[in-house]
């Protein structure tokens, strides 16, 4: 896997920041040659990850720091991809306890992690020693929809 020229975004825990991050992620995905639905999957996963930080990590308190780092990567079979790292200073949760819920239970809430794990190729939560949570996730261009990046 190669990695170069990361894009770093620093936002605060306000829902009004989400649209700007979605725009940046969409641009990165397009630049890396993602098709429409792969691009949407990546944008959706990042949105859900940030919403989880805002709602659960920071319990809805606005103005607290979140860092998002986007990096171009390549899969072992040379497909383009984007690695996203979301770093917060919120509550630490045992990564083993972060899982999607039963979808047969039709009720609001708790769908974010399910969506992230459904659409991303790699998802890894960790608890850094310095506090907060770190989420690293990767989405590669689907084999069927691989497109050449724009010049």
């Amino acid at each position: 896997m190669s990695q170069s020229n990361p894009v770093e975004l620093k936002i605060t825990s306000s829902p009004s920041c989400l649209a700007a991050v979605r725009g940046a992620v969409e641009e990165m995905a397009r630049y890396e040659g993602f098709g429409e639905m792969d691009s949407h999957a990546l944008v959706l996963a990042v949105d859900e990850a940030l919403a989880n930080v805002i709602e659960h990590g920071y319990s809805g308190v606005e103005g607290l720091p979140i860092e998002v780092t986007l990096s171009a990567v390549r899969s072992s079979d040379h497909r383009a991809g984007v690695c996203v790292v979301v770093r917060d200073q919120g509550k630490q949760v045992d990564p083993g306890q972060i899982c999607g819920r039963d979808l047969d239970d039709i009720r609001p809430g708790g769908l974010g992690v399910h969506i992230i794990r459904s659409v991303m190729d790699e998802v890894e939560y960790s608890c850094p020693n310095e506090g907060g949570m770190l989420l690293r996730m990767v989405k590669y261009v689907s084999s069927a929809s691989a497109e050449k990046p724009e010049a």
């Binding site: 829902p15 944008v43 949105d47 859900e48 919403a51 979808l103 039709i106 769908l111």
Partner: protein, 118 residues
């Protein structure tokens, strides 16, 4: 009767008819807008329309907060034996319903004509 609310809830237009209230949304249904959208839809559900029809043609993006909003309003509408129906989904919005398996739970129509008689 047509009405254009100005409450920032993404509700662009509300049209009330004998068989259905059609609600046109415009914008991203995300964590930022879902609370006000929820409040607006709860208010409309309280009028107990036979069908609460949600027009998503102008919604380019929806996340799980939007899904949660619709599930909660669906419960209210179902409680008085009304129907909640969607139409005008883009591939992107439809994919969110599919990932959460709610495409099988909600009634989703191709167009408004189908939706108001579903």
């Amino acid at each position: 009767m047509s009405e254009k609310p100005k409450d920032g809830s993404l509700v662009k237009e509300v049209r009330r008819g004998e068989n259905a209230t059609v609600v046109t949304l415009s914008g991203d249904v995300d964590l930022h807008h879902s609370p006000t959208l929820h409040a607006a839809l709860v208010e409309l559900a309280a009028e107990r329309p036979k069908r609460l029809v949600i027009d998503l043609q102008e919604v380019p993006f929806m996340d799980s907060s939007g899904v949660g909003t619709f599930v909660e309003v669906f419960r209210r509408v179902s409680a008085y034996k009304g129907k909640m129906i969607f139409f005008g989904l883009s591939n992107r919005v439809r994919s969110v319903f599919e990932i959460t398996k709610l495409d099988k739970f909600f009634t989703i129509c191709e167009n408004e004509q189908q939706a108001v008689t579903a």
